[in-house]
Symmetry: C2
Subunit: 417 residues, 2 copies
């Protein structure tokens, strides 16, 4: 007997017709004799509607009351899916976060799941009942409703799978899997049959938005096998219809590629502080105040010192935080001692990701050569064990992704539909 | 210190602007030093939207899941009102039905409140916190969400007031009180300052739709002083701005009227069974099957036996149940033995209500005389201790209400705004 968690996003739950399609898909798994728990999102647009109500009521809303309001979206869809399942002969019941309960931290509006009690749930599953669980919600120590922050339903699903010791966690979404790169840029992008947690984390955090990053981290920590599938493509005949996200040990050497994918990210801005005095503590004077203001600095480049004893420091911050970052720097100007701050929002980060690069040299060299041959200037570089990222001018984004996709041999034989 | 429950209906909660007005009104009571619990309905239209979702999902929906879905409407407004109260400096928190808890029977979609735990709530009120409680919902013995049936928020408010031993339960609605009759028919109708529970029950059940009947019954049983007020009229200067519903002992002899109000009701249909054999058990043969089919029979008239040994029996049933009633009677025709069933939906019931009639004869006679003088034919009569009802042709409804309102001296000096 196999135990699975199925998770459906807001687009899949948008209206009764779609909920009926979801019910049919759940029924198929249930008819195979599987124990099935389904985690659902609110109807597409509903959470925005509820969040706006809270904001209208007060710009400084109490997050505990916000949680009461916005958690209702998933409450509605879980009740409706249970009804739709019963209507096609599948015994089903909904379980609110407070009923199981799903214990979370006290961090209202962005709580962390701490422990899920599966006693009653296990009994229900053993009785061949499908469990329908609202994603995104839980119960704080004071017995008040919490939510996990936007996109939290993926995390709910993975946490349920871990607590239930499920064999698989299937995430149904509006794409049919994880691709080597954005198929809108490279029509010859290939769907990956398998990808490791680490690669998925790098791909997700740099722009391939399929799964919430936090859910991938949790899956890695708990060893949950996650499968990304399309809600809208019927692929019953395909034994591996989507992308499986698993530990590295599950990926055979033969299928292992040097590079798994190419990601791009246009959400960062570049800041250069000119003529920073080249002395110990200069860097701390810059990044200390930014960290205190909760501004995430990503790439950092420090040029060789000028003969004048000063240096230029370049780094990236989220575009959404740029104004705040410039304010913070201006206030710290006395401590830092730069002559001027130059910023540029028209930059893009291109990343090459793959666990295979651990054992292969030359990945970065290929990247620099390929971009150089097309006259694409590299503004900054960062690397991790399984990733090389470069900052380039935004206008070159698509060109860079395409030439790198070809250079690393990722192009498929035919274009995607 | 005074403890009060305030209840706001769907029209008062329809959108953030209106919720803000509600918050201001709550603040006024709170600033006087009162302990305040607020019971709220869902936004106008929201419950219908949610009920329709359930019906679309399955015509035979599971009432337990229906309750999960529809209870979310009040969950949303209670969170939003708590936010709106905090925004104007009033400490407030929401309490879901399962949090208090409000214990109900297992009758999903039409549960009965059995017991309310006010321990935590009392502590919160003592700390000068306003409690915001979603109406219409509770918790069944199996720890699943229940709802009380449509209009149940009035009942929630009265039950909360009883459990909290509140000094008053103020029901804010879209009318500013209970009138001697429908002001759309009689512009000179007067707002009643006080009315007894018994009168209110008769007025509500025969058509003056201000409060849910069940809530009035509960208020009478528990001795809760209920005040009906308008959400939309600001009447701070008026010491008795609405209508107070209280026990008979609270109404001074001086202000006691013979007749409190005139109600009309167009929801019934008349059925006549012709030539029913005049033998013992004949009446039981008619009304037994109707009762078994859960069809409520109201007025009954049995004519004097014909010389043939048969009689005509006339009675009323709800119009919505007429087809079903005729089916039931047709199936029982062999047992009853009538020659034909005649029905008429164009009838109206006019009722004269007042506790004063207990000690005064002649109320019914005045009614029959007044109607007779206008040529209005009486098709059936029922009386109770505090009510006389007659069935007339529907076309005469407004005329009958007007002439009776004048005949019993209920007309005010000036027309209502």
């Amino acid at each position: 007997m196999t135990r699975i968690v199925m998770k459906f996003g807001g687009t899949s739950m948008a209206g009764i017709e779609r909920i009926r399609i979801v019910a049919e898909r759940v029924k198929r798994e249930w008819e195979m004799g599987n124990e099935v728990a389904v985690v659902v999102s609110a109807m597409a647009g509903e959470t925005d509607r509820l969040v706006n109500f809270c904001r209208e009521a007060s710009s400084l809303y109490d997050p505990r009351e916000y949680d009461v309001v916005v958690s209702s979206g998933e409450q509605i869809t879980s009740g409706l899916l249970a009804i739709a399942l019963q209507a096609i002969g599948v015994p089903a019941r909904s379980w609110m976060g407070w009923q199981l309960p799903i214990r979370t931290s006290d961090g209202h509006a962005s709580a962390r799941i701490e422990q899920i009690d599966t006693t009653a749930l296990g009994q229900s599953l053993a009785n061949r009942e499908v469990a329908v669980i609202p994603g995104f919600q839980g119960l704080a120590p004071g017995e008040r409703v919490t939510t996990l922050g936007r996109g939290g339903s993926d995390t709910s699903a993975v946490a349920m799978a871990a607590a239930m010791k499920a064999d698989r966690c299937d995430i149904y979404t509006d794409v049919d899997g994880v691709y080597t790169t954005d198929p809108r840029i490279v029509p010859r992008a290939r769907k990956l049959k398998r990808v490791t947690y680490e690669e998925m984390l790098e791909l997700a955090s740099v722009g391939a938005k399929v799964l919430q990053t936090r859910s991938v981290g949790l899956a890695m920590k708990e060893g949950v096998r996650v499968q990304v599938l399309s809600s809208f493509v019927d692929a019953t005949d395909d034994p591996e219809p989507g992308t499986l996200i698993v530990g590295e040990e599950e990926i055979e050497d033969m299928e292992r590629q040097l590079i798994t994918g190419i990601a791009h990210d246009k959400s960062e801005a570049k800041v250069t502080l000119a003529e920073v005095p080249d002395r110990p503590g200069a860097v701390a004077a810059i990044f200390g105040p930014l960290a205190q203001a909760n501004i995430n600095v990503d790439m950092i480049v420090q040029n060789i010192a000028h003969s004048t004893g000063s240096t230029d420091v370049t780094f990236t911050v989220p575009r959404a935080e740029l104004t705040r970052a410039l304010d913070v720097l201006e206030k710290a100007r006395g401590d830092i001692g730069f002559s001027k701050a130059i910023h540029d929002t028209r930059v893009a980060k291109i990343s090459v990701v793959g666990v295979g690069m651990r054992s292969h040299a030359g990945v970065a060299a290929t990247m620099f050569d390929t971009l150089g041959a097309r006259g694409i200037n590299i503004l900054a570089i960062t690397t991790s064990e399984i990733k090389v990222s470069v900052l380039i001018e935004e206008d070159y984004t698509e060109l860079a992704v395409r030439v790198l996709h070809t250079a690393y041999g990722l192009d498929s034989e035919e274009e995607a539909a």
